[in-house]
């Protein structure tokens, strides 16, 4: 089920270059899996902004977003106490049931946030988690310590080599051999490279411009081997074996 509620901004802070971490207080009962997203109404803009959930508990939702346009610019200026109209329960999310003992989590830029709740869940399930995060430059890096604190083994790559391994996430992944499954979220070229450079099956989370975010408008459709799917309800997470590039 889906739900619309009013949420209060508890904190909203800059954690990397143009990247913000916001904590919202409000109901979370309709959130069922890591990898789901919320759809936020922003004052002065007609469409909501779909943003993936980084972490949630009984009464808070944490999101991490990048300022990429006018809507997120307004979001970044909000202070504690601001109220937001938010839809929750959106998207299918990641499944942890078939991932084996050593799942590999891959995040590219602001594709990193949904990996956090997933990592937490997998570690709680007793899995040995490896996380590979790719960024453009040192100033863009975030959440390295947070993932380490959960108990994951963390690799960082930067495209310009200013931090961690120089290059892309695939430059690290190609040397990893003993993972049992993978989860990835990031820009589409990264997802394609991950698809081509992983030797197990896995799940990939996609991004698309959305109208409604709950399956009504058919704005975010894609073709898969199992037929037409809507990124907002049949995704954003697709299985590796169903993807058509």
């Amino acid at each position: 089920m889906y739900k619309r509620d009013c949420y209060e901004v508890k904190s909203n802070k800059n954690i990397a270059n143009l990247v913000y971490e916001m904590v919202l207080e409000g109901p979370t009962t309709y959130i069922t899996a890591p990898g789901q997203f919320i759809n936020i109404e922003i004052d002065g803009f007609y469409l909501r902004r779909p943003i993936s959930i980084c972490e949630y508990d009984e009464n808070t939702i944490k999101i991490i977003y990048k300022v990429v346009g006018e809507g997120t610019e307004v979001l970044a200026k909000l202070e504690s106490g601001a109220k937001l109209d938010v839809l929750t329960g959106l998207g299918n999310g990641f499944k942890t049931i078939k991932c084996g003992e050593k799942p590999l989590l891959i995040g590219g830029g602001v594709g990193t946030p949904p990996m956090y709740q997933l990592c937490k869940n997998l570690i709680n399930e007793g899995k040995e988690v490896t996380v590979v995060l790719g960024f453009n430059s040192k100033n863009d890096v975030f959440y390295e310590e947070e993932f380490k604190k959960l108990g994951a083994k963390v690799y960082i790559t930067t495209a310009d080599g200013s931090y961690g391994t120089k290059g892309f996430v695939t430059d690290v992944i190609k040397d990893l051999n003993d993972y049992t499954y993978f989860y990835a979220c990031g820009p589409e070229p990264m997802l394609k490279a991950v698809y081509d450079n992983t030797n197990t099956t896995g799940e990939l989370s996609f991004e698309e411009r959305m109208g409604c975010g709950f399956g009504a408008c058919m704005g975010c459709s894609c073709k898969t081997k199992y037929g037409n799917k809507r990124i907002c309800v049949d995704g954003p997470v697709l299985k590796k074996e169903e993807i058509i590039w």
Binding site: Y2, Y46, R209, G215, C217
Partner: protein, 303 residues
């Protein structure tokens, strides 16, 4: 007590609020938000003979007070709609619905209407001759009075259900086309479809929509819709289902005063999934405020 009920070609509606085609899917998603039985009726997603994927993405661009869509009639095809989508909707919705039919040829329109004619759940067929997002079809039928009349006449031969022709505003003279449809036997007019529009991303210097242009809808187009409904009401004697940027109960009252017998709510559903529910709940309040006892009595009242 105020009276919200209206009638469309013999079909009685508890209230005039109908989610517009293409903004409500086949109703399933909205049933996850609220009990959709409160809706006057539902106009289903535009349906063609065969399944269609539609246009490439991005298909959506935001605008001030609205959005542009270029979905391109993605739908599972008429057989799937009759066999799966409508029976599924029957689980959550116990009233008659409006089937929205699209096509790329006269034969396709006829084929789909003949099939949907046998579907008891369908109270009205809304014939979309105005989709701006497909080539060689859709809007091509709706921009020419002679073509519009011919589609109407041919469809009337294959169904006994009331036929409402959905018109495009992207024409010089919508009144002429509405009259041609009436003369050809249309039972009603649905208007207006989206306005052709576009947005360009200054970062990439290219159109945002993959198909470059798309249909503009949302509150920004309300005055245009209202004006056209007002004009067509003066010229025809068949009922009009009004739509275009409706976002509040007050908009509904305005549109009915212009001449609409019922009102569809489109883009608002995408922004706020509870839009139709909130409008229906607010209608009695607004009616009290404007001293309206019965919505039926205000249809065309502005003339």
């Amino acid at each position: 007590m105020v009276d919200l009920s209206v009638e469309l070609s013999g079909l009685k509606l508890d209230n005039p609020i109908i989610p517009a085609s293409g903004t409500f899917g086949f109703g399933h998603e909205f049933a996850k938000f609220y009990d959709i039985n409160m809706l006057g009726s539902i106009s289903l997603k535009g349906t063609t003979q065969e399944e269609r994927f539609g246009n490439p993405t991005p298909r959506i661009a935001e605008c001030t007070a609205g959005l542009i869509n270029s979905v391109g009639l993605q739908n599972p095809g008429i057989d799937n709609v009759i066999k799966y989508q409508i029976p599924e909707l029957e689980k959550y919705y116990n009233k008659k619905v409006i089937a929205n039919i699209s096509g790329f040829s006269l034969d396709e329109y006829k084929y789909c209407c003949e099939k949907i004619d046998k579907c008891d759940k369908v109270g009205i067929i809304e014939v979309n001759i105005s989709c701006p997002n497909v080539h060689n079809g859709g809007m091509a039928f709706g921009t020419d009075a002679k073509n519009a009349a011919e589609v109407t006449k041919e469809i009337k031969k294959v169904t006994t259900k009331p036929i409402y022709i959905k018109l495009t505003p992207n024409v010089t003279n919508i009144v002429e086309i509405a009259k041609a449809c009436e003369d050809a036997g249309a039972d009603g007019i649905s208007m207006i479809n989206t306005l052709l529009g576009m947005r360009i991303n200054p970062k990439t210097k290219k159109p945002i929509i993959a198909n470059k242009m798309g249909g503009f809808s949302g509150p920004a187009i309300f005055p245009v819709a209202l004006r056209m409904i007002y004009q067509v009401y003066e010229a025809v004697n068949i009922p009009i289902i009004g739509m275009g940027g409706v976002a509040s109960a007050k908009d509904v009252i305005e549109m009915m005063l212009a001449g609409a017998s019922a009102v569809q709510v489109g883009a608002s559903n995408l922004k706020n999934p509870y839009a139709c529910k909130e409008i229906i709940e607010d209608l009695p309040v607004q009616m009290e405020k404007y001293n309206i006892k019965s919505l039926k009595e205000i249809i065309g009242g502005a003339h």
